[in-house]
């Protein structure tokens, strides 16, 4: 069925177009008209995807894309920093979630959130190309990446997950005000810890 394709729009470069008759594909242009017109760029007729749809797109993106998406605009930053997305980005590659999802969520959110977990305690331990300097020895201990996965992100077994979560807890408690700890030892200690996190 021949698709009428007369609309001109410039959505930017790097898009694929199909001419059904010739099976021609052009990567450089943003436009296809019957009589091959020059590429048109600039603020054009790209419909605005609502926030819901943008969020849905980001749900399907990997952590690296989320990081870049946060730099696009204020609205995108707000969407890209959504904890739900980061929870998915973190747990996607876990072989098994160590406890119930809800439980994991409430603990991690209290200790700083999934985005923080990823940036501080997951990222440094990934494959060498994603590694930050200073965490070399730990990276070697992890399993090599499974072939075919985008970004060479390894599947995380129980140990890696426990390690990251433990480090997140330790990091959180290190930041706590030492006065508070000595004042409220015993009962009420955890209550205070959670109050601390909400104050930040």
């Amino acid at each position: 069925m021949k698709r009428p394709s007369i609309e001109v729009s410039g959505g930017g470069s790097g898009e694929l177009l199909l001419d059904e008759d010739n099976n021609k594909r052009s990567r450089s242009g943003g436009v296809y008209i019957e009589a091959v017109a020059p590429e048109e760029e600039g603020p054009l007729a790209v419909a605005e995807l609502g926030e819901d749809l943008v969020l849905e797109v980001l749900k399907r993106a990997d952590a690296w894309t989320l990081g870049r998406a946060a730099c696009v605009s204020r609205r995108w930053r707000r969407l890209a920093e959504d904890e739900g997305l980061w929870e998915a980005a973190c747990t996607r590659d876990w072989v098994k979630v160590p406890c119930g999802k809800q439980q994991l969520r409430s603990v991690v959110l209290a200790l700083g959130g999934f985005r923080r977990l990823h940036s501080l305690y997951i990222l440094p331990f990934l494959a060498p190309s994603a590694r930050r300097p200073g965490s070399g020895s730990l990276a070697l201990a992890l399993q090599p990446p499974v072939s075919g996965r985008s970004r060479h992100q390894p599947r995380w077994g129980k140990d890696e997950v426990q390690l990251s979560l433990s480090l997140l807890s330790i990091g959180f408690f290190e930041k706590m005000n030492p006065n508070t700890i000595t004042r409220r030892l015993g009962g009420g200690f955890m209550d205070n810890a959670w109050a601390q996190s909400s104050e930040e």
Partner: protein, 173 residues
């Protein structure tokens, strides 16, 4: 005999489609249940509606019910009618068709996904969103802005701070 439904686009063009094709859209299915065979779609242009109908026709043939006159051997062989996000279409021929279908510029894709979202055609929404997500993978922020026609509303200081915070994301793997 196939029952026909009439869809009317925002710019007044009328399209008669088989019921099972139109029923790929849950919204339409519900409306027709109230015994209304002419369905106005004021927010969908005819250009987009044509593409959506094309998709629905292809997928109806695959998901078709036993009563449908257009059911084919292919339909009998593959019944990928369960819907859940991020589940790939199981029939490889259909998947190949889908991949060809989405070889459109972003503007067209966005129009389609907005229409499909409005019409509640889950598989089409999912297909386009996956495609869009693929397109922004590995792209720099500036490129993403261009693709979506977004204005950079950060101050230079904010942008600098963000880039530093997310510098790990900018390393090319």
């Amino acid at each position: 005999m196939a029952k026909m439904i009439k869809l009317v686009s925002g710019d007044g063009a009328e399209f008669e489609v088989e019921e099972e094709v139109a029923f790929q859209s849950k919204i339409i299915k519900d409306i027709v249940a109230d015994a209304d065979d002419v369905i106005p779609l004021p927010t969908v242009s005819s250009k987009v509606l044509i593409q959506v109908i094309e998709y629905c026709r292809k997928h109806a043939a695959v998901n078709s019910f036993p009563l449908s006159p257009s059911s084919s051997a292919a339909a009998a062989a593959s019944s990928s009618s369960s819907i859940s996000y991020s589940k790939p279409v199981s029939d490889p021929a259909l998947r190949a068709w889908d991949n060809e279908f989405v070889k459109l510029n972003n503007s067209s894709l966005f129009d389609i996904v907005i229409a499909a979202n409005y019409l509640d055609i889950e598989e089409l929404v999912d297909l386009v969103l996956e495609t869009v997500a693929d397109r922004i993978k590995g792209k720099q922020a500036q490129e993403i802005r261009r693709q979506f026609n977004i204005e950079n509303d950060f101050t230079p200081e904010e942008e600098e701070a963000l880039r530093r915070e997310n510098s790990w994301a900018f390393q090319n793997n």
